[in-house]
């Protein structure tokens, strides 16, 4: 029944999906943290930028962002992100860039809700010791914010893993693109859909369960 799968590189596509997800997750965690720092910071210009960024980017469909990365950045502006003439590499990198730009707005808001769970007194005590704004954020507020953001961040990560399928729109050879190819070539619609769904559940279910457990484990006791 599963014989037809031998003709396709399902493992390779799965691996591309994992790479897209992991690289985008790391990138959006970093950029999202910077955005969150801007949004809670004392500099009005940065606060304004952070707020504007989040409210614009999170409201644009991911497909539009990914397509713009390919058609706008690459084909019109000639951005290759160091990929040379290798379109597979260029498109993969553009997809990661698009996913980072998009997902970081959600990471920022998940973190900001985490920051709001840290009592004001924690930052006041840190300032009273003579720590600078950056130190207060880095040493006292963010470590506690991350701990209480694990579960909302897990939600963002699960959404990101599934959102990697949008990269198919610019031809990145990940799982959803393979699914389209298989559906076109084989008369096994239900089976193919089930296999692909399983691939994603294998990724997302443990992510949710493990991070849920981690979230409980690292929760700050007050």
């Amino acid at each position: 029944m599963f014989d037809f799968l031998d003709k396709y590189d399902l493992l390779g596509a799965f691996w591309t999906t994992v790479q897209l997800a992991v690289l985008s997750a790391v990138g959006s965690l970093i950029w999202g943290t910077i955005l969150a720092a801007m949004r809670v910071g004392p500099v009005p210009l940065m606060r304004g930028f952070g707020t504007a960024y989040v409210n614009i980017v999170r409201n644009i469909p991911l497909t539009v962002i990914i397509l713009f990365a390919s058609l706008g950045l690459n084909q019109t502006l000639g951005v290759t992100l160091g990929g040379g003439n290798d379109f597979e590499t260029i498109n993969f990198r553009l997809a990661v860039l698009g996913l980072i730009l998009y997902t970081s707005s959600f990471v920022c808001e998940a973190l900001r809700s985490g920051i709001n769970t840290v009592p004001v007194g924690q930052a006041e005590a840190a300032r009273a010791l003579g720590l600078s704004f950056g130190q207060v954020l880095r040493l006292v507020v963010l470590p506690q914010a991350f701990r209480s953001s694990v579960v909302p961040l897990a939600n963002v990560l699960i959404a990101l893993i599934k959102n990697t399928t949008v990269a198919a729109a610019i031809g990145v050879a990940e799982t959803a693109l393979l699914m389209k190819e298989m559906i076109e070539n084989e008369a096994q619609l239900l089976l193919i859909s089930a296999v692909i769904a399983l691939v994603f559940v294998v990724l997302t279910l443990p992510t949710g369960l493990i991070l849920g457990w981690v979230g409980k484990k690292v929760a700050v006791k007050r």
Binding site: P119, G121, Q122, E124, A125, A126, R127, A128, L129, G130, L131, S132, Q135, L139, V140, P143, Q144, R147, V220, K221, R222
Partner: protein
């Protein structure tokens, strides 16, 4: 030459440490601090009392600029309070603060709470900072709890750790913002004992409190505030036995006759 240096030392030992001059602050329409003039000498223990909403906590918090002021001036050890940035952080390191709700860093152990400021602000070596932290924790009687997290300690223990955390910075002056108001009655004394000890050791202290016993026994001076003003300043004896203002008489009659 010698005389000059002696005179200088005298000034250093007894001079003015914290000076507030015509300080005003508003919260919206509410004038919470009205023309506050207050001078605290080095080594002095000043207790600020008054009814709720009289501005005493706000006053305490303006001294290390956790609250900004609208006008007037605050100087600490001769230097005006800087508005922002590194200068302000440096000054705050010299002013210890103890909060009503302890505010120990919840994700760090007791020991880490007391070493953090030393290492990150004073740039003390980690090992030396730990030695000092352990000595201070022993001094306030919670040495055995060093490796626990704040949530595992009682309120009284947490507040004593908070005092140790502030002392670790070698502050010139300590601010106490209602340090016993969030404590169970049986834990109040263990914190007051530590504060009395500090006062006897010559620490300059500004204490906002409702503990009249502490005011009587440890304060050099009592400052009575009401409605954003300093209504009366006197020695504890004078104030408690013979208050001059009606407002103070009223306040004392309400809290002392039970």
């Amino acid at each position: 030459m010698t005389e000059v240096s002696v005179a200088k030392e005298d000034k250093a030992a007894t001079g003015e440490l914290v000076v507030l001059k015509s300080v005003n602050k508003h919260f919206g329409a509410l004038h919470v601090l009205q023309d506050i003039d207050l001078t605290i000498q080095r080594g002095e223990v000043v207790v600020v009392i008054g009814p709720s909403g009289s501005g005493k906590s706000t006053l305490c918090r303006t001294i290390n600029r956790l609250e900004t002021i609208d006008d007037g001036s605050i100087t600490i050890d001769g230097k005006p309070l800087p508005a922002e940035g590194k200068e302000l952080a440096r000054l705050r390191a010299d002013v210890g603060m103890v909060f009503q709700s302890f505010n120990l860093f919840a994700h760090k152990t007791v020991l880490e709470n007391v070493t953090l400021g030393q290492v990150k602000v004073r740039k003390v070596e980690a090992k030396k900072a730990e030695e000092k932290a352990r000595a201070l924790l022993d001094r306030v009687g919670v040495g055995a709890q060093a490796d626990k997290y704040p949530a595992q300690l009682s309120g009284g223990q947490q507040q004593r750790v908070a005092i140790a955390r502030a002392l670790a910075m070698d502050p010139k002056v300590m601010l106490f913002d209602e340090p016993t108001s969030a404590l169970d009655p049986e834990m109040i004394n263990e914190v007051l004992e530590v504060m009395k000890q500090l006062a006897e050791d010559g620490m300059t202290m500004i204490v906002v409190t409702h503990e009249m016993g502490f005011a009587r026994s440890a304060a050099n001076r009592v400052v009575f505030m009401a409605d954003g003003r300093i209504v009366e300043e006197a020695t504890p004896d004078q104030f408690f036995s013979n208050p001059r203002s009606d407002r103070a008489k009223d306040f004392l009659s309400k809290i002392l006759h039970h």
